[in-house]
Structures are given as C-alpha cells and as structure tokens.
Symmetry: C2
Subunit: 137 residues, 2 copies
C-alpha cells in the first residue's frame, strides 16, 4: 500500500486544526507520536487524520480533553462499551445543560438591567447600581 504521508502543516490545513495544537495533542498523549522522516519531520497518515478529527469533533461538542482521552482509550483497547460511553456522554450533557441555565440566568439579568439603561451620558446607571446594591446577593 502506498503511504502518502503528510507533514504537520498539511495535516493542520486539511483538518482545520491549528498547527501548534497538533503538537500539543501529541504532547499530552491524545495523538500518538508519528514516525519521522530522515530529517525529523513528522509523517502523518489517514489514521492520524481520523483521530485528530475525532478529537476536534469531540471538542466541538464540549468534551474535555480528559473525556476524549477516556473515549479514545476505550477505542484503542478495543473495549468500547456503549453503556460506558453513554454514561460519560450523559454526564457531559448534564454539565452542558447546567452551563446553559447559568448563562440564561446571566442573560435575563443582564438584559433586564440594560433595558432600563438610559444610554445617555449620565452618571446614574442601573447596572452600576445593581452591582453595588446590597439587595442583590
């Protein structure tokens, strides 16, 4: 089989991942150390690209590096158990939902407060008042 290896820069371009991030993922063990050319250049193949895309998609879904390390470890050990993965994913889902509700709380307070702003160049400001006001914990 023909290898058609690519460099780190090429992998970065193809995947859309920052070139330094690829090296970072290697350093923390999320990406394997690829073989090197005679002059020390990293040589990546389709498996590396596949794995990098896995990581990138996982990150887009908000999984932590630790989560992805666990998931890829299951894959690497050929020990994927849908039940286990689901457990991790559901726990992540809950944390995403918590973040959403935190942010929604912020959003409603912010928009309520900003709505009552005059927008004029005056020293009296509802937001400043609200932040100083002892009534709001």
């Amino acid at each position: 089989m023909m290898a058609k290896e690519i460099t780190r820069g090429q992998l970065a371009k193809r995947s859309g991942c920052n070139i330094e991030t690829i090296r970072y993922y290697e350093k923390i063990g999320l990406m394997p150390e690829p073989p090197r050319s005679a002059s020390g250049y990293r040589q990546y193949d389709e498996n590396h690209e596949r794995r990098l895309l896995f990581v990138m998609r996982g990150r887009e879904l908000g999984f932590t590096i630790a989560d992805l390390t666990s998931l890829l470890d299951l894959v690497d050990r050929r020990a994927v158990s849908c039940g286990e993965v689901e457990k991790l994913a559901r726990s992540h889902l809950r944390s995403v939902q918590e973040k959403i509700s935190d942010l929604k709380r912020m959003e409603s307070t912010l928009s309520d407060t900003v709505r009552s702003c005059s927008g004029q160049d005056v020293p009296d400001c509802p937001l400043i008042d609200r932040l100083f006001d002892t009534e709001f914990n």
Copy 2:
C-alpha cells in the same frame, strides 16, 4: 466614626469569596491595597466589602476581570456614563448569547446521539461512530 476593620479571613467569610481570591484581586489591582496592622495584617472596611461584592456580582453575571476593571475605573474616576456602561454590558450580553447558542447546539447533538445509545455493554456506539464519522464535519 468607629472603624471596625476586619481581616481578610473575616471578609472572605462575610462575602463568601475565597480568601485567596481576595488577595488575587488585590494583586491584579481590582481591589485596593488595604491598610495594614502593626504586624502586617490587612485591615478591610465597608468600602472594601462593598467593592468586593461588586466584583463578585459582576463575575456572577459573567463579566470578565477586564470588564470589571473598566467599570470600577469609571466609578473611581467618578466618570460613570450610563451610555458607556450600557455599551460594555450589551457587548457582554451578546457574548453570553453566543455562548448559549453554542451550548445549545452541543446539547441538541449530544442528546440526539445519546438517545440512540443502547446503553448496553456492546462495542457499537452511536456517539463513537459519530465522532469518527467523516460525514459530520
């Protein structure tokens, strides 16, 4: 007027702020350096407490330290302009709204995917497939 100064630990307890965080806020200039007792203990008064609560409420609303530095700078210079504050707050509000929509996208993908999980101890898993699948960018 009677001063009734309190220590850092007391301020921490009263405000609910972590004791180390108070020192951190001082280091980055968000809190002023308080006077010291003869033996070097920090002595805080109501103004410090008020300011700390301002910062804590601001952080709860998701403002960055830089935002709060700007806001408090306006206050300190007695140059609060509701228009200016509103501009900052609206820009922050937009970023909160963006975060919400990012998280909602994550949430829907995650819950869709997890819903199709068998939850059984089997190697075939929709989430893993989805992360590996080239169809999903």
